[in-house]
Symmetry: C2
Subunit: 353 residues, 2 copies
């Protein structure tokens, strides 16, 4: 296997020495880029773009053509698994993802089964293969999935929710039904991420977007336990290289010790936590990824530079830090400000290595 030209990101995740702090941005292939919007218009809509490996490859590479990013991330959606389970994913204008057939009956939950990644999710696996080829070993490719709990939120609510009333009613009224959904989801995510790894993903990330909506006890029982099941079942070495695993619970700053205990390689942090404090809490168990408030990118290059400097200083000397936003980049971001961020990370981080 050919060697990566830039493996800084992978070394940082494994807490090995690097020359600078690597950086990528969640949702870096997205609507803030005019070239992305052109490709999306050609595809027709977001879901058609996800399901077309040629176009998914094209948009995955777009931010890398603009910025000296240290990693690429598969262009896809976190809800491909429930779609492959037959729930009928669609996107309605301005309302985010929805399911045509959300889980509302006991028999629907009993009948759920793990989709075969090489069959119903073939388009994702093909995209991973094509992207790896197109990247030509320039930077590593990150694969990803939604967490079992986050998938369950959408599967039960049928779309986005402000209070998660349906899935939480199930959690407190019929926990065994929710556990059944979560177990199927955990097995599905494990198979899906392993298929991505076998197709060429060099690191994987689990997005637990809604873990932070749970109580302390419910988070451990209904989200963390199923991420544990995934981490335990992941391929951790492939093609002669370690495949690091990142777990990101948005709003999970109170539970870092528990997340570090999963045995993952890195924890994604949102912007509410001081990264130096996070480092003190997890010690040398895991690397940390984050954590600039994406709203900082609404400001100007000087302010972006100053906020970036604060995060680098708070993390301090040594490896184990991957710079990122604390959440996906907003569609209203000026690409020039994203460029300023990436330059600032590369330049200002050198004295810490």
């Amino acid at each position: 296997m050919k060697k990566l030209k830039n493996d800084t990101f992978l070394r940082a995740l494994l807490r090995q020495p690097t020359e600078y702090t690597p950086v990528w941005m969640m949702r870096q292939a997205g609507r803030y880029l005019p070239e992305y919007n052109k490709t999306r218009a050609r595809a027709g809509d977001f879901l058609s773009l996800c399901k077309n490996p040629d176009l998914a490859t094209e948009v995955t590479l777009q931010p890398l053509a603009r910025f000296p990013l240290d990693a690429a991330i598969l262009f896809s959606d976190i809800l491909t698994i429930p779609d492959a389970m037959g729930l009928g994913l669609y996107f309605s204008q301005g309302e985010g993802p929805k399911f045509e057939r959300p889980l509302r009956n006991e028999w629907e939950i009993r009948d759920l089964s793990v989709p075969d990644p090489d069959n119903h999710l073939r388009y994702v696996i093909d995209a991973v293969t094509q992207i790896r080829k197109a990247l030509d070993n320039s930077v590593p490719l990150i694969g990803f999935s939604g967490s079992p709990w986050t998938l369950a939120c959408y599967m039960v609510e049928g779309g986005s929710s402000s209070d998660f009333s349906l899935v939480k009613t199930m959690l407190y009224n019929r926990p065994e039904l929710l556990h059944r959904i979560l177990d199927v989801n955990a097995r599905a995510v494990t198979a899906y991420l392993n298929a991505q790894i076998q197709a060429g993903a060099q690191a994987v990330m689990i997005f637990d977007s809604w873990g932070g909506a749970l109580s302390h006890a419910a988070y451990h029982e209904f989200s963390l336990a199923y991420m544990q099941q995934i981490v335990d079942g992941l391929i951790r070495e492939h093609d002669g290289a370690k495949v690091p695993c990142i777990v990101f619970t948005k709003g999970g700053g109170l539970w870092l010790e528990s997340i570090a205990g999963l045995g993952c390689d890195a924890i994604g942090l949102d912007w509410t936590i001081d990264i130096g404090e996070a480092r003190r809490r997890v010690g040398d168990k895991v690397a940390l990824q984050g954590n600039l408030d994406p709203a900082v990118l609404f400001s100007n290059p000087e302010a972006i530079r100053a906020e970036t400097a604060k995060i680098l200083a708070s993390y301090g000397k040594g490896s184990g830090h991957v710079f990122n936003l604390g959440h996906g980049i907003s569609q209203f971001t000026d690409p020039e400000n994203a460029a300023a961020l990436i330059d600032a990370v590369h330049e200002l981080s050198k004295p810490y290595h």
Copy 2:
């Protein structure tokens, strides 16, 4: 002054011994109660209800007629102050609060001034006076306000926001403008809460609903610092009795030590933190108020009892705990489940005192 028949709530806030754990519910006078909806229909709309002291008194007392609650809370809105500043508060169907004239220009910010509570907020002060009279010393009355940062979010965004892009753009691009708004807000909140105390509020609570949207550093600079200004200026003793002050930052679990350092008497907790862990972190500096996920009230009396028992056990023995939800009660709650919660707290807490 006549003695309160039930001062359990006030004693718990001051960490004095009580016979059981007192309980009230955020938004306890609200849309889950049919009698509230009837009064609101008579008023015409929510804002007319807030602005009519007779009707505000009526709805404040409604939950106390149904449930053996240990405190009453003034029925009002957190956005009365910016309305009194002339921003024109209104409520559009299903979209929450909005302002007709949000702050969008520098001169509007320069021209902001502190409203006189006895003039433009007279209706609130009159409501406090009337409610105290109607309560007839049965249980204490809580006064409240939004925090300076939370008010600023609405004043700049013009309504609710999912990403706070306008106010955060100001924060990072023109921090001096935001500091100007926050300073006016802090002085306004101080005067407003002190007027409520002088009219009879026996405890006050600051609702920092959106502090949790900030980064660690920005929270301290743009929310906490202005709550400090308020706490420093509050009347802490009135009519021969201490007036405890509660600070509630939703999503503020990472910053409990900082909040405890304000010199407030109690911290409100949302449901994401384990209350026992919170108690270990703040030690004997403050009392704690919380923290059941309001979604638990969607379940059934047995589950409500079990979840209540967990929180009481986690807090453990001794005083300093006021039971509450971690956020306002949902309009979709069955009042029978609220009754089950209050009974469970009273009954199950006795062994801890």
